[in-house]
Symmetry: C2
Subunit: 134 residues, 2 copies
Amino acid sequence: MTDTETRSVVVEREIPYPPEKIWRALTQPHLIEEWLMKNDFKPVVHHRFSLSADWGGVECQVQALVPNRTLTYSWDTKDLESVVTWTLTPTDKGTRLRMEQAGFRADQQAYLRGATVGWPRFLDRLEEVLARTD
Amino acid sequence: MTDTETRSVVVEREIPYPPEKIWRALTQPHLIEEWLMKNDFKPVVHHRFSLSADWGGVECQVQALVPNRTLTYSWDTKDLESVVTWTLTPTDKGTRLRMEQAGFRADQQAYLRGATVGWPRFLDRLEEVLARTD
């Protein structure tokens, strides 16, 4: 049954800002561009958007959205069909931010490794954006 | 904030057996021993148990349990504090089984890699147990 096996990359961080501020950075195109990629994102269920970078692009579609709490979009490249889910949980100190990218098949270890290395970098950049914006 | 970052290992598989059969393999000590490790597991919230292998052991405590649906236990070794959550979802073909081990810190990459390699092997063995038991 290994052909139906999928893996996820999960990164969770405690971030010292309220969910509302982090939500803006996750959903406003000019802010998304600063930490992730150029994009035509809209916070609307079923909206299709692209992320584009020097190395290529990602085709996405918003699947679910609860403002300031959770955001899910598909994340497809040439041979990867995956789903990214952001979950924001308020804490005493700010927000517990969880990112899960699900759908890596057993034969997609290179993608899995790339995402394992890549997401903490994106989150570092996200935190830099948060530090310099209202 | 990277010191508060944690990662998870997630493996999901479609398995051609009903949740009740998989649940038995996840919760009966003599079956757990066949695919995971020697143990004194009991399906009782707050029950503390140990998993033991040639290379050492794991200290665990049941945190949550809904028969045939979900099982959560802590999974602690000398320097790793993690949580394993099993989720069983019935499907047309059997069961979607999800295993998540959460709590790997950014400085615990070796544990993360070990778990990434190890869990699919445990799941292979679990499927072998399922194939030869009622």
